[in-house]
């Protein structure tokens, strides 16, 4: 029996001297502990061997007091001064105290996003950064992620943020496009992702998001859309070997497919027809019917009833497996870090047609002497992605698109029944559907694969020259090559067979592409720091001057072969005609010089002046220089206020900064190219033909007067912490104006040209970003954190050039829907044919009783009203439970998935009025004289009888296409995780130093309003920029993910 004794005392606060109740008092290294009472008094029984008492309380600095012979130990706790010690990485990789910043920076540490097993670090930030919109193009493995910081500020240029890893800008190209065409249109497309999504999440230490111009303009013109700054893990000198092993495996399943009606079956105009691709037939009676075609004098029998999951069951469970091993250590020369990560996923389509297989190897080192420091890093990445096309079928190219075709299958068929597409009733000749290919044939025979090898490297050397003065050089390279092949099978229907004449032959196609991109970047920066006494206070100042040289080169060769000869053999040489060959290359350079003067007065007033000048190769020589300064101020006003219990920290931030941006290469002059002529609506003529060459003047007018675009951004914000950090409020308002917007603008065809790149417009962005941090409960074992984010962003196209007579810009379109930029409106408005109205406001219908097309009207924008998210973190001892709910309100999108289900009569909406004859309410017909003048109106007496499909088809009822413009509103349970970190005391007996296991789910729940029963509103199929904001064209469905992750440290 060891001897014990009782220690007592009072715990009080250094701020006000008052006693603190609820302070946790424990004996260090044991589980013995107690809590102080209402009067701040504690009493604890300790053993003779106890050496130290630990006093901890939320918001106070934990204190350790050695146990002496005295039995009374009174303790005064000091409050933690919030934020003061927080260091964040800012532009040019400069680490600064967060308090010194005059703009908002959001920083995330590995543990903020590490528990849910994402293989794309940017996706892991979804819903966590106010003012940044992040969405995945689809649930397919490797699909692109769209990141837009503080709204769109360009119409025809890029809105992508600059990605910087360890101080070096990296490539973020969107490696996608039409499957076998060299242009962007609705036809079959493949999404090979965007290259910034490939940074290995396991290597990431922190991610900083620089949103405004003040935060980012030292990075130069390329940072005009914000900066995502990633700092990776590193070793430390004289550190023991640390081994981290992490593994995550997950299942995925389709989260949202259109809701189908369950009443009407296959057919058209109310009549059963076993070859139709729509559910416009009679009410399904459940009785057996002869179905499909007669083949070899036999026909199949199937109950005429709704088949639950008839389409959904085409999809299967996908899985992903991420393994990562990281080693780090260090001697007295340098610290080092090495990691290897393998990330594999297989998407929800059957077989291995949709996979991502990514392996990365990283080695980093850092060290040096007191005066000369160095660091370097090198990453090799191999990425293999397989995907299948989205969009519209392209019979002259890769053929059918499965995501499209399965929407045109009547609801009384269970598609997995047709899996054996070689079986006589299921083959191309006899597959029951006379207008859509057997999707299993498509699945097996159409696909795309990309192989990418990438190397990224960086080197930094910093030399101290004098006290406070150092010079630092950072060089970086990011280079990759990607080879991809897209193929579509020959799909010929035997002449005279059942599907002959209704299903087109697909000629088969192959597109091979080789792509090479290299970015070189050099930064040379001199930094001087000092401090002086001034006005009885202390003034710290630092001065930075630097030079940046950046070069990006790009080369691509495309070979497209359409019309294959040998089936199943996918090589560009396998054609009867000649292959189309396209090449594209560019090189662009940018030189910048920049400077920054930072002043810190008495640790509460911070002023920063910065400026940069760039010279860009893409602007006309002589007019290629642009200068953009900025100033920021941070003021911790609580330092001047009398001390108070409520407001523990308060800072005001104000900044005003300019940012400049250059143009895309080769916009200053005109070119000729081999003639490509389009007529008839499909395909066209590509010269040379029959050995005759032809060149046309390209439709773009060169602009030798191009200027850089310039934006000005004002930001004001405040960071307030209350009740010893229990409540934090971070609020920013920004207002940004971009002038001389570089745009590709349409001009009248009669000029002989179609478009010109010019300085045409002005966009205003403003928005509010709010983050509220609450810690309602915090005790030694139990903590509950709650984070609320709110974000509202406006992006208004103020004006377009009157000089050019440019009144609007068409961003994208599909069928009747146009996505336009119009002055005075939010950027990205949907415009559609309206109904035609009589003077008294009635809808005019034609002789067929269907509405007549009127003028086009704007029906809204793609810009959401607001976004908000709620994050809850609850931890109890080693357990942590977190979830994140993401909510977007408002904004519209185009959905062709919706169109397909209207067209085919498969959706619930198409059963309005139970498909009984009806006269469209509030309609009249026009009476016309011989000359076609309207002389009067008559009440409409023509009902929609069996031509329901015409009422719902946007081809025959154009105003009805507005039903394809669906709300972007959603509520998503974006992330849920439950993790458990093993108690140290247990691990002490093992070779492990830390172990964490977590169960996670992503996108578990999706709610959308009734108008969108079709698709996950974050889906897109065009690109990950403004064109993609238009919406989706038969995109891949979103997925739900469940998984398990294990992190071990040795």
């Amino acid at each position: 029996m060891a001897q014990t004794r009782v220690l007592t005392g009072t715990v009080s606060s250094s701020e006000d001297g008052l006693p603190i109740p609820g302070v946790s008092v424990s004996v260090k290294g044991t589980t013995t502990g107690t809590i102080s009472n209402m009067d701040g008094v504690y009493s604890i029984t300790v053993s003779e061997s106890a050496r130290t008492l630990v006093f901890s309380f939320v918001g106070m600095v934990t204190q350790e007091i050695p146990i002496t012979s005295s039995t009374k130990i009174d303790v005064v706790l000091n409050p933690i001064v919030i934020g003061v010690d927080e260091v964040v990485v800012t532009a040019m990789g400069i680490k600064r105290d967060k308090k010194a910043l005059g703009y908002s920076v959001s920083e995330f540490k590995a543990e903020d996003f590490g528990n849910v097993g994402n293989d794309d670090a940017t996706k892991a930030l979804q819903g966590k950064v106010s003012g940044v919109s992040i969405s995945a193009g689809s649930g397919a493995p490797g699909a692109a992620t769209r990141v837009i910081v503080r709204g769109l500020s360009s119409i025809t240029g890029s809105n992508q943020p600059l990605y910087v890893v360890d101080g070096v800008p990296i490539n973020n190209s969107f490696n996608s496009g039409n499957a076998t065409e060299n242009s962007m249109n609705a036809n079959a497309k493949v999404d090979f992702g965007n290259t910034a999504s490939d940074i290995n999440p396991a290597d990431i230490e922190t991610i900083s998001v620089l949103k405004g111009a003040a935060a980012s303009n030292l990075y130069g013109s390329r940072a005009a859309n914000g900066v995502i700054m990633i700092t990776t893990k590193r070793g430390a000198k004289n550190n023991d070997l640390v081994v981290n092993f992490s593994t995550a495996s997950a299942f995925t399943e389709v989260s949202r497919l259109p809701y189908f009606q369950q009443k009407f079956g296959q057919g058209w105009s109310g009549t059963f027809d076993s070859k139709e691709n729509g559910s416009w037939g009679p009410v399904m009676d459940g009785k057996d019917r002869l179905t499909g075609y007669v083949v070899d004098n036999t026909q199949q029998l199937a109950p005429f009833s709704y088949k639950k999951n008839g389409i959904r069951d085409v999809y299967e469970y996908g899985y992903s497996l991420n393994n990562s091993l990281a080693l780090s250590g260090g001697n007295d020369f340098m610290g080092w870090y090495a990691s290897a990560t393998s990330s594999k996923s297989d998407g929800v389509l059957p077989g291995d047609v949709d996979i991502l297989d990514r392996n990365t190897l990283t080695f980093k080192g850092n060290g040096g002497t007191e005066k000369t420091k160095f660091s370097f890093g090198a990453t090799y990445m191999n990425r293999v992605q397989k995907t299948i096309p989205t969009g519209q079928g392209d019979d002259a190219g890769t053929g059918a698109v499965i995501y499209s075709d399965i929407l045109y299958q009547p609801v009384n068929h269970y598609l997995p029944d047709y899996r054996d597409y070689k079986y006589k009733f299921n083959n191309l000749d006899n597959y029951y559907n006379g207008y859509a290919q057997n999707p299993y044939f498509t699945l097996d025979n159409t696909g795309a694969k990309a192989d990418q090898n990438r190397v990224m490297g960086n080197l930094n050397i910093t030399q101290d020259l004098l006290k406070g003065l150092n010079v630092s050089f950072t060089g970086g390279v990011d280079t990759y090559s990607q080879f991809s092949k897209v193929h579509g099978a020959i799909a010929r229907v035997t002449p005279g067979s059942n599907n002959s004449g209704t299903i087109n032959d697909v000629a088969g196609a192959v597109k091979e592409e080789g792509l090479y991109q290299t970015q070189l970047n050099s930064d040379l920066v001199a930094n001087y720091k000092n401090e002086v006494d001034l006005f009885g206070g202390n003034l710290k100042y630092n001065l930075l001057v630097g030079n940046n040289i950046n070069q990006r080169s790009f080369k691509r060769v495309n070979i497209v072969s359409r019309g294959l000869v040998v089936p199943g053999y996918y090589n560009v040489g396998n054609i009867s005609g000649s292959a189309e060959v396209y090449t594209n290359e560019y090189k662009r350079r940018l030189i910048g010089v920049f400077g920054q003067l930072g002043l810190e007065f008495n640790d509460y007033l911070f002023v920063n002046l910065q400026a940069r000048n760039d010279w860009s190769s893409t602007l006309p020589i002589g007019n290629n220089s642009f200068f953009y300064p900025g100033a920021t101020m941070g003021f911790i006003f609580t330092d001047l206020l009398p001390e108070n219990k409520m407001l523990s920290y308060g800072k005001l931030r104000v900044s005003y900064a300019f940012a400049g941006n250059d143009a895309a290469p080769f916009m200053t002059s005109e070119i000729y190219r081999p003639s490509m002529l389009r007529a008839g609506g499909f395909g066209g003529t590509n010269y040379p033909v029959n050995g005759v060459p032809a060149y046309e003047k390209y439709r773009r007018l060169g602009n030798p007067n191009l200027k850089p675009e310039l934006s000005k951004e004002f930001e004001i914000g405040t960071d307030l912490r209350f009740f010893s950090n229990r409540l934090g409020v971070d609020l920013s308002y920004y207002s940004k104006t971009t002038t001389d917007l570089i745009m590709l603008a349409n001009i009248a065809a009669s000029t002989g040209y179609r478009e010109i790149t010019s300085n045409l417009g002005q966009i205003s962005n403003d928005g509010i970003e709010l983050m509220v941090n609450v810690t309602p409960v915090k005790t030694q074992n139990f903590t509950w954190d709650f984070i609320y984010l709110y974000n509202k962003a406006n992006m208004v196209l103020d004006k377009l050039s009157e000089e050019l007579g440019v009144s609007e810009y068409l961003i994208n379109s599909a069928y009747e829907t146009e996505f336009v930029a119009i002055p005075g409106e939010q950027l990205g408005m949907y415009r559609l044919p309206d109904y035609k109205y009589s003077p008294d406001g009635k809808i005019i219908v034609g002789d067929n009783g269907l509405p007549v097309e009127g003028d086009k009207i704007l029906i809204g924008s793609s810009v959401p009203d607001f976004n908000m998210s709620f994050t809850n973190n609850i931890s109890y001892k080693g357990f942590k439970f977190s979830f994140l709910i993401d909510y977007q309100q408002g904004g519209l999108m185009y959905s062709n998935t919706a169109d397909a289900t209207y067209w085919s009569g498969n959706n619930e909406q198409s059963t309005t009025n139970d498909r009984r004859p009806w006269i469209i309410p509030n309609t009249i017909t026009e009476v016309k004289d011989a000359e076609g003048n309207v002389t009067g109106y008559l009440e409409n007496t023509t009902p929609v009888v069996d031509n329901w499909h015409e009422y719902y088809s946007s081809n025959t009822n154009k105003p009805n296409e507005r039903t394809r413009i669906i709300p972007r509103t959603f509520i998503k349970l974006r992330e849920v995780s439950l993790s458990y970190r093993l108690n140290k005391s247990i691990l002490d007996r093992t070779f492990l130093s830390s172990a964490n296991v977590s169960f996670f789910g992503r996108n578990i729940f999706l709610w959308t309003p009734a108008k969108n029963g079709f698709i996950d509103p974050e889906t897109t199929t065009w690109d990950n920029d403004i064109e993609g904001l238009f919406g989706e064209f038969n995109g891949a469905p979103g997925v739900r993910t469940y998984g398990l992750k294990l992190d071990l440290t040795f």
């Binding site: 002059s669 395909g683 009669s750 040209y753």
Partner: protein, 507 residues
């Protein structure tokens, strides 16, 4: 320490020296494309662009409006053509206008500048013919259009819109200027490959130019009678005196391959690239006429289906497939990958001359050229004319209107070959032939015509949206309306009104 500072200064100044070097930044020349090309390459481009529009856009819609073809009832691609619901943003309207202005005629303009600078008057004649040919159609289908200030790029971003009659005047003058040039120094070898109409034969271009002169004159005969009569008289006298020659062969582009993106543009779009080849069906208006006259050209124009040459009544595309499926019942137009696109047929050339003589009162000459024209049409289509010229197609001995009708009806049939419906549509607007059926509204959707239907009379589409009036012209394309500030007055017009408007030469 000082040594270090020196080094630093050296490095920084080196970098700055490097930075200020304009050469380092002077890399913005596009390595992917040439910035200038020789004239013959532009010539091919220009001819090919006009060919594409003429056959696959205008020809296609024209053949619906001329009722050569009709929309199949188990597919839906051209419903809007047959229901006349064409608007400013309809693809065909935008696309064809853009292709003419931005590609075909614009490349031709650069071609013209180049050959004029080189005093290459043969080249100039080609360019003048192409320009006149293209602009005549633009006026015929769009009315008033930019001409004098067109193709000036940034010099005139908002070209003025010229009146149709002024454009006619200008292209007529241009054509005459081109035809008056001394082409003796012309080097045909330079154009053997790239002149995809006549292979560099400048005499053929001159003949085509003269026939085009006739077409331009005839089009404005009613609106500008004095001028047209005088010019026609002169032209025919020159022809008789063999001072000039008119087109005596097909002016056709035949440079096609049976390969993706290399074939006849109409075939390429409608047959190879579209997702079904069944949209185009024979129209009952034409098939009834050919059958009533036992015209053997029917076999060259349409593919027999189930032993019949049934044609659809215009606007029958919504007849349920349970009633009949057009692909298994209705004849389809014969389209092949390498079929020529005729800018003007020899038959048309003769029929133009026939009308000229008729207008000048020389019925005998009119009859001769009419018969030449009809025979040429049969010959081209590989059909036997038999004794039709003595029977059903005999040139009426009396009655101007009957005689004119005979000529125009033959143009109408001739234009059904290969999708040249736009020409017969414009001629219908001009002359009123083929006539409209008096019993349009008694005719039911489908393929069965009532007994009192007069074969070859136009039937107002069962799905027509223009209040019983056949469409006359195209609405202005949105791109011109939206981006040319001079188009404001046209923007205010409603598409439905514009489509029924008459262009300047129609009184």
């Amino acid at each position: 320490m000082k040594k270090r500072m020196k080094k630093l200064v050296a490095i920084i100044s080196l970098v700055l020296l490097f930075s200020s070097c304009d050469k380092f930044l002077d890399i913005n020349e596009n390595p992917n494309y040439p910035t200038d090309v020789s004239d013959e390459l532009l010539l091919t481009s220009s001819i090919a662009a006009v060919t594409n529009v003429y056959a696959a856009d205008w020809g296609l819609i024209g053949s619906f409006w001329s009722q050569h073809w009709a929309q199949n009832n188990t597919s839906s691609q051209y419903k809007i053509y047959e229901s006349y619901s064409i608007s400013s943003n309809t693809n065909v309207i935008e696309r064809s206008y853009l292709t003419m202005y931005v590609d075909g005629l614009s490349d031709n303009e650069i071609f013209l500048k180049k050959v004029e600078a080189n005093e290459n008057w043969g080249g100039y004649l080609m360019g003048a013919v192409i320009k006149a040919y293209g602009f005549q159609y633009l006026v015929d289908m769009y009315g008033n259009i930019p001409y004098t200030e067109a193709f000036l790029g940034s010099e005139k971003l908002n070209p003025v819109i010229d009146k149709g009659d002024k454009v006619y005047e200008a292209i007529y003058t241009l054509l005459k200027t081109g035809l008056s040039k001394d082409v003796s120094k012309f080097v045909p070898e330079n154009y053997e490959l790239n002149d995809i109409i006549f292979g560099g034969n400048i005499d053929d271009w001159a003949a085509f130019g003269q026939s085009l002169r006739l077409r331009i004159l005839l089009r404005q005969f009613d609106a500008n009678t004095t001028f047209a009569t005088a010019e026609i008289t002169k032209l025919l006298a020159d022809m008789e005196a063999e001072n000039i020659y008119l087109l005596d062969k097909e002016a056709a582009v035949t440079n096609f391959e049976d390969a993706d993106s290399k074939s006849n543009p109409l075939y390429e779009s409608d047959q190879r690239q579209l997702n079904t080849t069944n949209n185009l069906k024979a129209c009952a208006t034409l098939t009834s006429y050919l059958q009533a006259n036992v015209d053997t050209r029917i076999a060259s124009l349409f593919r027999l289906v189930a032993g019949n040459y049934y044609g659809l009544v215009p606007g029958s595309y919504d007849v349920p497939s349970t009633e009949f499926e057009a692909p298994t019942l209705i004849a389809s137009p014969i389209l092949t990958p390498t079929m020529p696109v005729y800018w003007m047929t020899y038959a048309e050339s003769e029929l133009l001359i026939a009308e000229d003589w008729l207008r000048l009162g020389n019925v005998e000459m009119a009859k001769t050229h009419y018969e030449n024209g009809v025979t040429a049409s049969f010959d081209r289509m590989g059909a036997e004319i038999g004794d039709l010229l003595a029977g059903a197609y005999a040139f009426p001995t009396t009655g101007f209107n009957n005689q004119l009708k005979a000529i125009i009806m033959q143009k109408w049939v001739d234009a059904a070959d290969g999708g040249r419906g736009i020409e017969s549509h414009i001629e219908r607007v001009r002359t009123g032939y083929p006539e409209e059926s008096a019993i349009s509204n008694q005719i039911q959707e489908g393929y069965v015509l009532p007994n009192n239907y007069i074969p070859g009379t136009l039937i107002y589409s069962k799905k027509g949206t223009t209040g019983g009036i056949l469409p006359r012209r195209f609405p202005y394309p949105d791109s011109e309306l939206n981006f040319n500030s001079n188009a404001a007055e046209y923007k205010a017009l409603s598409d439905a009104d514009v489509i029924l408007q008459k262009v300047w030469w129609k009184k």
